[in-house]
Symmetry: C2
Subunit: 467 residues, 2 copies
């Protein structure tokens, strides 16, 4: 066994340094700041948001059903738990229960999807509850990889975008081909850029999958119906599978740019596209009402024969999920109705998160608009902003001397001077010659305001120091 | 996307039929039995065992920390939860918390392993908490696969044995090479059989891993120290990595054949083996005190540079586990001590499970010893018996006409006549020309007794019918 020595990602390196600084602060070392502030995360609960009480109550009672007798648990949560435990082998989340997952949960998800998409039918046999998104994406890409072909199978992935899809392509035996999002159009998908990437790639690989992330991460863009229709026509013409990462779907915070699922837009385009374009859409409880860490999600196949799913249930690595996570997914697909006791608190919780994202997005845009050298596109959804920062030539040279990407150098200097962690643009990829940072919209507003002021002040002094 | 059409395993087919029969019974169809009895499972909770209250209380309070105020929760469970939540980002299991997993949980596991192995040091940096065993085995095998080599990398897997290891080898890009266990020695590992498999394999692949399952599944064998030493010398001579599936370690139920970890035996063999043989050992909460379904486990690397682990934490699919599962693993590694309030109930729970396994193992051996044509080896651990059944030549021909393996044919006939589901030997593999069935030792004793009587009666009539 050799030391493979995979290098840490730019953000991982920065977090290691942040952790070391926290140690130094704890030992009383003198710094120009008193604490490290993490302003990079897409994880709502890590950023301080309260979890959804209703779901936690369901989880707790599923784990320890004796709590069904507790007076302080609400009737609707008890009712859900009663129904869930009835469907489980041994009446317990402590058994594998694959039938519960593929039967009960898949049906509940299909019903949820029908409501989400205004009544468009969803077939439970085409729904695969999974253990988080990462392994599920690997499994889905594995289905299209042809290891016997002369050219490797390729997956087109957006830049900037989550590292997940490219890494998953590699693990599935495919290669990732980046395509650039259109920064000048708020990081919209640019059909010409996709076609250009396709054309260049075809000499050395066989592109079979187009991955689109909507709402965008880290870009904060929510696709318009028009853009989605153009993407659908493109995958039809180019004979690609559309892999829609829609895990941020519950975080579209601008009322005039609501989230639309690719499935709905495809269906509403009518024949022949609606019945031919192959689509796989991913949902994650982590980015939805559930908060991360429960490892539950699902994906839905559209225009794909569900018999292909057999291979998942034989040895797919993304299935056999945590049954407690699945029970919480089950409950998340059927949140309390207006007549139920937890309705109001659930609605308030969801409203508060969206309100906070919208407020923070406005704040980021307002503060950064006043900062010369920084340009932030309009934010519409998701949990991050990805503003562009101009870095002076002397900073670029300095970074090069240190063997660092310029944005990584900037983020390190920011951390050392202010204790603030933001994600270097290289973590997500960025257009050649440009530099960005990823900022979390999930912090408490007061913290974010303080971070933004410190950040813009530091940036101004950085420009002075390196000009 | 083509229909891959992976065929179901022999047991999966049987379970599909059992499910259909349950539907027929529910609709009032007349059968020679009134219910389907599942006598194949290794899943304790599915078989009716109660989960461990202490762990469930910990899980419930982690999910819904408001329960820390509940009077009816014991102080030791509350204390564990208080400490766990302190270590979590946002004080919540709803965040990803990789640092908790790789730091706190890994350290807790290392301390547990030191106690288990009589004080032999365990390095937390070599412990990888994971999301269940299957994906972890894939990840570990992936580390040794050389995709650029002329010959494919091979993993030696025991027959009979769980399907997991062979399937994992395939998913990791390796090939599985079966080696036969010695049925006449109670399914002990036979060094000559391993060497023979190695020799034959080397013409077409490059064997790098020997997989050993101890306690054996479905064999019920627990390896002696002598056998383990022989295996260690063999992997040293043949330069193999020893992949020890020790997930059944808490189910060794014969006092005179206790479970010994490969790590301990290796260490006690002293230099030079103790410091050179490469070993990875797997543990699963599912087969331990936790019950299945929580998707938590770990593996420990011995004599392997922990820097190799970096690749897991970059994009390993087995990590990023359910944090609630990890919190329960954390608590399982530190069960109540004698002075703590839950101590007695935890000890009773563990004792009851072992007592029940030992009782059922005796019952199986006694009843089957009286049945001509059936031969059951001595049972020492694990959750299954794997008796050999002679099938008459006419039954073999009949099965062949139906295109079925003879043991699958027998199990189908048994199901149709009695409603009893046992696992066909082909599910686990078996020596050429022999036939077996896998019986669960986890059923309630009264149910198992009834199953065994019906089973032996049916077998006798089957022999008559086909002789």
């Amino acid at each position: 066994m050799a030391d493979i020595g995979v290098p840490p990602t730019p953000l991982q390196s920065l977090l290691e340094r942040a952790s070391a600084i926290e140690g130094q602060l704890a030992q009383g070392e003198d710094k120009p700041f008193t604490e490290v502030t993490h302003c990079h995360t897409g994880d709502a609960v890590a950023a301080g948001h309260q979890p959804l009480t209703f779901l936690r109550q369901v989880g707790a009672m599923c784990a320890y059903p004796e709590l069904l007798d507790a007076e302080h648990m609400p009737a609707d949560a008890k009712e859900r738990v009663g129904r869930i435990l009835q469907r489980l082998q041994g009446g317990s989340v402590g058994a594998y229960n694959l039938e519960y997952v593929t039967g009960t949960v898949a049906k509940k998800v299909a019903q949820y999807l029908e409501r989400r998409d205004g009544g468009i039918a969803s077939d439970a046999r085409c729904v695969v509850p999974s253990s988080g998104t990462a392994a599920a994406v690997v499994d889905v890409i594995s289905l299209v990889v042809d290891e016997t072909a002369a050219l490797p199978t390729a997956v087109l992935v957006p830049v900037p975008g989550p590292r997940l899809h490219g890494a998953a392509a590699g693990l599935a035996g495919a290669v990732a081909v980046p395509y650039s999002l259109a920064e000048e159009r708020g990081w919209d998908v640019d059909g010409d850029a996709v076609r250009q990437a396709l054309q260049q790639a075809r000499a050395r690989c066989h592109p079979k999958v187009l991955c689109v992330v909507n709402p965008g991460d880290p870009t904060g863009h929510v696709l318009s119906r028009q853009s989605m229709e153009a993407i659908i026509r493109l995958v039809a013409e180019e004979n690609l599978l559309l892999l829609a990462d829609e895990v941020q779907q519950e975080r579209a915070f601008l009322p005039d740019r609501p989230f639309l699922s690719f499935k709905r837009v495809l269906w509403e385009m009518g024949a022949p596209l609606a019945s031919t374009v192959q689509l796989v859409s991913f949902y994650s409880l982590s980015n939805g009402v559930g908060g991360g860490g429960f490892r539950a999600g699902f994906f839905e196949l559209v225009n794909i024969d569900p018999s292909i799913l057999k291979c998942f249930y034989t040895w797919g690595m993304s299935v056999y999920p945590s049954i407690l996570g699945q029970a919480m997914l089950d409950a998340a697909m059927e949140l309390p109705l207006p007549h139920e006791p937890s309705y109001q608190s659930v609605e308030e919780h969801r409203g508060a998160l969206l309100h906070s994202l919208a407020h923070n997005a406005r704040l980021v845009q307002e503060v950064l608009a006043r900062a010369p050298g920084i340009c932030c596109h309009p934010l519409q959804g998701g949990a991050r902003a990805f503003p562009r920062i101009q870095l002076p030539p002397r900073a670029l040279r300095h970074a090069q001397e240190l063997g660092l990407e310029p944005d990584v150098f900037f983020c390190r200097e920011l951390l050392e001077a202010t204790g603030i962690v933001v994600a270097p643009g290289s973590e997500f990829g960025q257009p050649e010659g440009t530099h960005h940072v990823g900022l979390s919209l999930l912090l408490p507003a007061a913290t974010l305001e303080r971070v933004l002021l410190t950040f813009t002040r530091f940036y101004a002094s950085f420009l002075r120091d390196f000009s």
